[in-house]
Amino acid sequence: MKILVCIKQVPDMESKFKVADSGKWYTTADLAWRMNEYDEYGVEQAVQVKEQIKDADITVLSIGSGQVKETMKKALAMGCDRGIHIQDETAFDKEPYQIAGIIAEYAKDKNFDLIFTGMQSQDRGSAQVGILVGEILDIPSVSTIVEFAYNEGDVDVSRELEGGIKAKMTVKLPAVFTCQLGLNTPRYPTLPNIMKAKKKELLTVAVADLLHVNARLVTEKMFLPEKKAGGVILEGEIAELADRLIAILKEKSTVLA
């Protein structure tokens, strides 16, 4: 069984974001970077399948500057077998169709049985890449999965719908799955596994070798949303903050009356 897991490195969402001079993206200096949360579930699911059937080989793929290799090392330490780093200094500027095009171009002659992606990235949130990879490779895809069970060539999954309802589906492999939060419990890499990961293969490929499709959309402008008026911001010493909040609640709400 051959498994491909696609991961993205994203900034920590608690960062303070500033619009870059280009006016088209955010400044990437001074940000902390991590694995896209949704992708962690994809890595974990791949590793769980390998633990179940033993005979499996997991490739983790990421597109970006050299810096994304740090995040790839985490995936290798979680249990992926090898890494393909697609070197691209302007990956941030590529739209989902281009990203999917790069991944599909890499995957097309490798006969992957299972492909995992996150259901969306935390920064762009387009929720397109996994499904597009399936369409380009002409294999089925199921998005937003919260349950996954492999049994002999078939996969039983649950898709999450609104209000906590799930749709139960069965798919034959090869297929693509996009992972939703809560699919499993992503493991923390252990120290021995972090050491082992350092010896795993991590190949770098130039993006130009794999990008053969044009962008269908571009970012015209990035900006900070206007703050809504009306909210009060309280800052200061803890005990005093509590007194001020209680005073506001007494005045503005009936719950302390």
Binding site: M13, Q120, A127, E135, S143, E162, A167, L217, K221, G231
Partner: protein
């Protein structure tokens, strides 16, 4: 400009989010037509409705649903195809966009000078998009495009036939785990977010909820980590609540959480990040470490 609106149907019911699609067409001042794979019930809509029979098509069958939508696109030749950014819409939109060689713009929140605007980084930033294809596929963020007045009219129904099977098998729905706490009845809800750090700290939130005579709730990561059961999750995949007072502790304010609580009468957020998007909805944002602030607040409220 002409837009094709893709309405939704699930488990025997027509969904009402098609009103947001109509609102979007109105915002753009565009002509529209609608497509629905559904049952007998049709949306209130004054226009052409292409209707395919869900019993022939099957629910959760993306291959066949795509086929129906593409057939209608072929007949109507729309410039834009609009879906809700829902589990149905975000699944189908890329399939349709790929077949049409169209640009897809996900989770549109606004239209500015005729261009589509989408959120970035948990709504901390926004982006205006320039499309370079002749056709555009868009998904709309829930709640972004309302109608000023309820829609009116009866659609002109045109039946669409379907044949085929699809590559995936749908085995039925599984209801949300029910029977637990009904948060919608609580006058006060204090919710724990990932900012509580670990399971042991849920107790702090429970104590504050008790002191305020309310219930405690949680954001999704807290539920996914099994620190709090699912029947207390607030948001699109949990419960929708509108208490007199909602206190969000260590919750960043992702759209899926906000959708479940923003109708609350009064919202207090406690967060170390002054720029957290929850601040946009909150009446009061207390910039503080909840681990220090919540116990002090609880004690003072108990002493009232």
């Amino acid at each position: 400009m002409k837009i094709l609106l893709v309405a939704e149907y699930r488990d025997g019911k027509l969904l009402t989010n098609s009103n947001e699609l109509i609102g979007f067409a109105e915002t753009l001042g565009a002509e529209s037509a609608m497509v629905l794979i559904g049952g007998e019930e049709v949306p209130t809509y004054a226009g052409k409705l292409y209707l395919a029979d869900v019993t022939a098509c099957g629910e959760c069958n993306p291959d066949l649903h795509k086929q129906v939508i593409l057939e209608v696109i072929d007949k109507e030749q729309p410039d834009m195809i609009a879906f809700c950014h829902s589990s149905y819409g975000w699944d189908l939109a890329p399939r349709v966009a790929f077949a049409l060689k169209a640009a897809q713009v996900s989770e549109v929140v606004a239209v500015s000078d005729g261009k589509l605007v989408v959120p970035v980084c948990n709504a901390k930033l926004r982006r205006t998009i320039d499309c370079q294809s002749s056709r555009i596929v868009a998904t709309l963020q829930a709640g972004a495009f309302g109608l000023k007045e309820p829609p009116s009219g009866t659609p002109d129904v045109i039946k669409v036939d379907v044949a085929g099977s699809g590559r995936t098998v749908f085995r039925g729905y599984e209801a949300a785990l029910g029977g637990g706490v009904d948060l919608s009845k609580a006058a006060v809800i204090v919710s724990a977010g990932r900012g509580i750090g670990k399971a042991d700290n849920v107790g702090l939130i429970v104590k504050l909820a008790k002191a305020l005579g309310g219930e405690y709730g949680a954001s999704r990561p807290v539920v996914d980590s099994e620190w709090v059961p699912h029947d207390r999750q607030v948001g699109t995949t949990g419960q929708t609540v509108a208490p007199k007072l909602y206190v969000a502790c260590g919750i960043s304010g992702a759209i899926q959480h906000l959708a479940g609580m923003k109708k609350s009468d009064f919202i207090v957020a406690i967060n170390t990040d002054r720029d957290a998007p929850i601040g946009e909805e909150a009446d009061v944002l207390v910039v503080a470490d909840l681990l220090q602030f919540v116990p002090v607040l609880t004690e003072k409220i108990q002493a009232l």
